[in-house]
């Protein structure tokens, strides 16, 4: 009985601050916003973060790139130390072993630096050597053909890196742009999410799938991939095997779409903003979608592709993060109510409450919005010239450089953690149901992005005045 009482006490008296240090989302906010604030303070005092935010520059011969690394060795070491300390603190707070994380992150950083440098080769785009694709393919080959050491796993925190990168992305995202484009993104995303969920769910049920599995698959395909699947699996009390089935399908289709969406968009010559909106509508996970959107930003200016490079990432973020991700709590609440009141419960009682919306809210979005507000306030009153000549190179560009590093860590981690042999077997019926949703999602996303809202997304990618 005393044990029982202690257990209850620990569960009911958890500090309200616990989540601030126990969830990856919040650590992404602390790290991302911390960097934005430091960059802002340095900028205000006439300095900049750009020394440490080193990135490989364009090169055409091996000698040039070697000379670059040689000349900037101290900066790269400082950058490595910065990331190691920041992510190390977060990882330690989450309860992971620092002794494993340090060597794993060192490997991740070195390989990421090489991939980043390869992407800066002046012939890279000719051979489709976009850093996100190279990182993904290299990671996939390594994880599926080699036996990687177990300790390396500790450094492969896909979500931690992508969430930190998204918070930093907010620094290059004018807040007025979010206010201007947010409603359209939410509207387009709502149409696609509802239709995609409906298709997967009803096809799944028609094929005889358990309703909880159909719902888990549906939200995985319609809202936010693996995160959506795991959130709804818990909300509806899915069977143990349901989430792994949905995750397998999300991963397989998400990886296919990382390659297909940018390449098809390029073949169609879509403007960067339009392609970004399509990717944001039709990719299944933030990390996978950003890999595709970042790849497409590298195509800007090639073969008649109009729009700024940033526009594909911005449109993607508006569509996926603002349009889809933030609604996961609402989906979980609604499906939880339906599961509790309409579906058989097998002796397990669940109770849904509105707090579900906040508990499952992807908190890193808050960091993204605050970063946007901070930099927008810093830019207030500046002329366009001053913005471009001072604020961009001294404040925004270094944060974009750091963001790109976080993204590459993420893209490489996706490949290195995708071990096809370890994924759960999905089975034919879940595959058919999910694939039906994929087909509808891609077609509907294309129509909305390239026809219905084409002017809007094209305008998003236009350079400033």
């Amino acid at each position: 009985m005393p044990n029982h009482a202690n257990a209850i006490n620990s569960a009911t008296r958890q500090s309200p601050w616990r989540e601030l240090f126990a969830k990856e989302d919040w650590w992404a906010v602390w790290i991302g916003l911390g960097l934005v604030i430091v960059a802002g303070v340095l900028f205000a005092s006439g300095a900049s973060l750009k020394w440490i935010a080193v990135t490989p520059q364009k090169w055409s011969t091996i000698d040039q790139v070697a000379a670059q690394f040689g000349a900037n060795a101290t900066r790269y070491l400082a950058l490595f130390a910065l990331w190691l300390v920041l992510f190390g603190i977060g990882v330690r707070a989450l309860g992971l072993r620092l002794a494993d994380f340090v060597p794993a992150f060192a490997v991740l950083f070195i390989v990421s630096a090489l991939i980043y440098a390869l992407g800066a080769w002046d012939q890279a785009s000719r051979y489709n050597l976009e850093p996100p694709l190279v990182a993904l393919v290299l990671g996939l080959l390594a994880s599926n053909l080699l036996r990687l050491p177990a300790w390396l796993q500790s450094g492969l925190r896909v979500e931690f890196y992508i969430k930190t990168g998204i918070v930093l992305l907010g620094a290059g995202f004018p807040f007025v742009l979010i206010l201007w484009a947010g409603p359209v993104a939410i509207g387009q995303a709502a149409i696609v999410s509802l239709v995609t969920f409906g298709v997967i769910y009803f096809v799944g049920v028609k094929l005889g799938l358990d309703r909880r599995l159909a719902a888990t698959l549906g939200v995985g395909g319609a809202v936010c991939g693996v995160s959506g699947a795991i959130a709804v699996a818990g909300a509806v009390g899915a069977k143990k095997e349901h989430a792994p089935i949905a995750i397998t399908l999300v991963i397989l289709w998400a990886i296919v779409m990382i390659f297909v969406l940018p390449l098809v968009s390029r073949a169609l010559g879509l403007p960067t903003g339009v392609a970004g909106a399509w990717i944001g509508t039709s990719e299944f996970a933030d990390a996978a979608g950003l890999a595709a959107a970042q790849t497409y930003s590298g195509y800007a200016g090639q073969a008649g592709i109009t729009g700024t490079p940033e526009a594909s990432v911005q449109a993607f973020t508006l569509m996926k993060v603002i349009g889809r991700d933030v609604w996961i709590g609402v989906w979980a609440l609604v499906l939880s109510i339906i599961a509790t009141t309409r579906w058989e419960n097998d002796g397990v009682t669940s109770r849904a409450d509105a707090g579900e919306i906040w508990r499952r809210f992807p908190k890193f979005v808050i960091g993204f919005l605050i970063a946007s507000v901070i930099v927008s306030l810093a830019a207030r009153g500046l002329s366009y010239d001053a913005y471009k000549k001072t604020l961009t190179p001294e404040l925004v560009a270094p944060l974009q450089g750091l963001r790109n590093w976080a993204f590459i860590f993420c893209f490489l981690s996706i490949g290195l953690t995708t071990r096809l042999r370890d994924l759960a077997t999905a089975g034919a019926r879940p595959f058919y149901a999910f694939t039906a949703g994929v087909v509808v999602n891609v077609i509907l996303g294309y129509i909305l992005s390239t026809i219905v809202f084409v002017d809007f997304w094209t305008k998003l990618g236009q350079p400033g005045p």
Partner: protein
């Protein structure tokens, strides 16, 4: 004001202490969840906010909210 657990949820947990959160058949440890669900770490995470405090019930072989309950509850 408690922003992390709504007053309704807190009251609910206090009224129903025999919830999964304190049951010995229930595991919500992120590391264990990541190990038990193949592919979760590839495009997701056991430490994500969206996962809330959900966990695996070995008794029912289900992935449940920590606020769920059943008649086979056993305190830790």
């Amino acid at each position: 004001m408690n922003l992390w657990h709504s007053p309704a949820a807190t009251a609910r947990t206090q009224r129903a202490p025999r919830s999964c959160a304190t049951c010995r058949h229930f595991c919500a440890d992120p590391k264990a969840i990541e190990a038990a669900i193949p592919g979760l770490i590839t495009l997701g995470s056991g430490y994500a906010s969206v996962r809330s405090d959900d966990g695996l019930c070995e008794r029912h072989q289900r992935y449940l909210s920590a606020a769920s309950s059943c008649s086979q509850y056993e305190a830790r």
